[in-house]
Amino acid sequence: MKKTMGAVLLAAALLIAGCWGGDAGKTNLKHDSTAEKGLEILGANVQFDPNVLMNNGEPIEVEFWVWDAEEIFRGIADSFSEIYPNVSIKVVSQPWQDYWTKLPLALQNGTGPAMFCIHNSQHENLVNYLQPYDIALEDLKADFSGVEGHVIDGQVYYIDYGMMSGSIFYNKDMWAAAGLNDSDIPKTWDEFASVAQKLTRYDDDGRLIQAGFNYNKDVKSMIIGLNYQKGQMMFDEDLQTLAMDNSITAENFQFLIDLYEEQGVGSKDFGISDGESFGQGQSAMVYKWGWYYNQMLSNYPDVQFGVFAVPTPSRDVPVAYDRYNGESTLGISGTADEASQEVAQAFVRYFMSNDEAMKELCLRYSIFPAKKTLVNDEDVKAHPVMKALAPNVERLVWPGPFPGVIETQMQQIFEDVVFNEMSVEETLEKGNALIVEDMQGSDFVTTERQYKYAKEMNTTR
């Protein structure tokens, strides 16, 4: 009986594998002999001319790795293949977690994709395997903002298609229940603390049941922005040494601690994650980056929430509002064969001259478009996160693709202070030294001094 079952199982496995084992990506590619397709040239400065033959019209399939938004990229790939019937773009989804292990390994060995999504935090990990864009710098600069920060020896390997930054998300029902309306949206941190107090609720036994503001788990995202607001740079003048052990960081840490301990608008023990607490309707306000918007929509569709710009130290225009990080355009493999690279270069041009595709991606992640033609797009302007970011976008600082250890360690430092009651200054000093040691082998150079208003900032500790 067992033998039979085993045999049946084996046979079933082989049968199923036989049925489904084929390669779904196989397509019947045609030869393309018509260079002049009569199609419109796309783009203002970065242009895509479809009226040329790709790979001399010979069939070719190239791979394109993504970690998310597969359907959007597949749509772009399909429309590209419609122009070039001899080209198939095989979009392959890879898990984000280990994408950065597999991709460099595959690129190094020449088995990787011809093009792929890239994240600037992995810059050092990947830059040696990238091919520079075959697009004139002037054209890129004319169409996109923030290109300068990506120029390496006169070339770019990727740029930003959008900028992600922080905003305050607030629960509209709690807002209304506290008797607040749109005119109460705070502009300064003092006003913010006052609003947060109104939104905070305790039960009869004095236990916190609704936090006015919750930053648990996410001080790491906030602290650099708070420093920038006060004009404090992250890095020393050598552009490489982290200089977060300064009085401004200590002051901002203390400000956050005081919000909980002095003003009582929240508690370090009120849930381990600000995002989840907000989604569960336990916290009235959180500071989050753009990605959180869609997460709220998909995970907590019943919560009515709004978004407003990050408050500032005073009503005056600050030196900077916050930090931003870019979402990168595609990387092109420097180890792929020539024909695949030709297709990849054309695809990148197509992607970057395609406003609709760029807009779709920006809206998906709630990121402010770097493409100048999209800044005044109606859909972009109507998006709550972008509406909050738009007036301040010129005063957002990009410190460059710094290693993730900085944020992780900053969170650790803060938790050591609040949970282990360690001294702010001492913990900052030790933590900063640890990060500096950790970054010893890194080639990272900050771009924060390229910020338009960098001269107004404090460049020393």
């Binding site: 084996l10 489904w20 998310d68 392959v92 989804s93 984000w96 977690q97 607490s277 995970n299």
Partner: protein, 274 residues
């Protein structure tokens, strides 16, 4: 008598507690696969779904190629398990019943393979696969896994209980070594083989990093890799992940149910020498 009953009762109570501790996460996962993400993430979690939903199971197939990954996993795992079952018995038989110079050295080398952390071998193994052109081929998954040091060790231990006299008798009657292996050793080692089959099936089924690294085509990828697609950059789709995991463990549970008795007997026979 009364004391004995009390002891027995306490032992059973402990066992029931341990069983509950062991299966509680599984039951929670299974029930959570019928919850919405908001309910799964709730700060005050519930065991039973408050808003029962099948959406997670429906999106498992629509969001990624679940059935393809499932079939690929089944194919690769079954193949590896069959091969390991065979090579382990063969290796165990040769090392336990064979008499040749260097036998202990070979066995030492086999044991040595178990002492090297698996992740240390990943890069050299990858380079090797690349050199022989097996990247993105099932052979890269199956061939390196076809011989198991643990399996050979376990079978060697198990075969110590098989009397040499029985094998000698067969040989005297004219049985070849091939015949002895297939007609005597295999049937008499069913329990130990079943244990190896269960272990190996489970390991191959849940193996993630190696298939992830060597398989590039989406159509050839295995389920363990597919399940990671639920872990996004910013958040995890727990509902989808739990639903896919609940389905994915069915083959493992089936294998265990089929070989349950032999598994326990096999483990006992391998752990006792002589």
């Amino acid at each position: 008598m009364k004391k004995q009953k009390l002891v027995s009762f306490l032992i059973h109570l402990c066992l029931i507690f341990m069983v509950m501790m062991t299966i509680a996460p599984f039951v929670w996962m299974l029930l959570s696969s019928f919850k919405t993400n908001a309910e799964i993430n709730a700060i005050h979690p519930t065991l039973w779904p408050q808003n029962f939903t099948f959406d997670n199971y429906l999106k498992v197939q629509t969001q990624f190629h679940f059935m393809r990954y499932f079939a690929n996993s089944l194919f690769v795992t079954v193949l590896i398990t069959v091969l390991v079952g065979y090579t382990s018995t063969l290796g165990g038989f040769v090392l336990e019943k064979g008499r040749f110079r260097g036998r202990k050295l070979v066995f030492g080398l086999v044991l040595g393979t178990m002492m090297i952390p698996w992740f240390v071998t990943i890069i050299p193994k990858y380079s090797l696969m690349l050199k022989i052109g097996w990247i993105d081929m099932y052979s890269a998954l199956v061939i390196p896994a076809a011989v198991s040091g643990f399996g050979i060790f376990m079978m060697k231990q198990s075969l110590t209980s098989l009397p040499d006299a029985m094998l000698q008798a067969a040989r005297i009657d004219g049985a070849s070594e091939w015949y002895v292996l297939h007609r005597i050793v295999f049937p008499m080692s069913r329990n130990a083989i079943a244990s190896i089959v269960i272990f190996q099936f489970l390991w191959s089924w849940e193996d993630y990093l190696w298939p992830f690294l060597v398989m590039n085509s989406e159509g050839k990828q295995v389920l363990a890799v597919g399940l990671r697609l639920f872990n996004g950059r910013y958040s995890t789709d727990y509902g989808g992940l739990f639903a896919a995991t609940a389905i994915s463990i069915i083959p493992v549970v089936l294998i265990y149910i089929i070989f349950q008795k032999q598994f326990i007997d096999g483990l006992s026979s391998s752990s006792v020498k002589g």
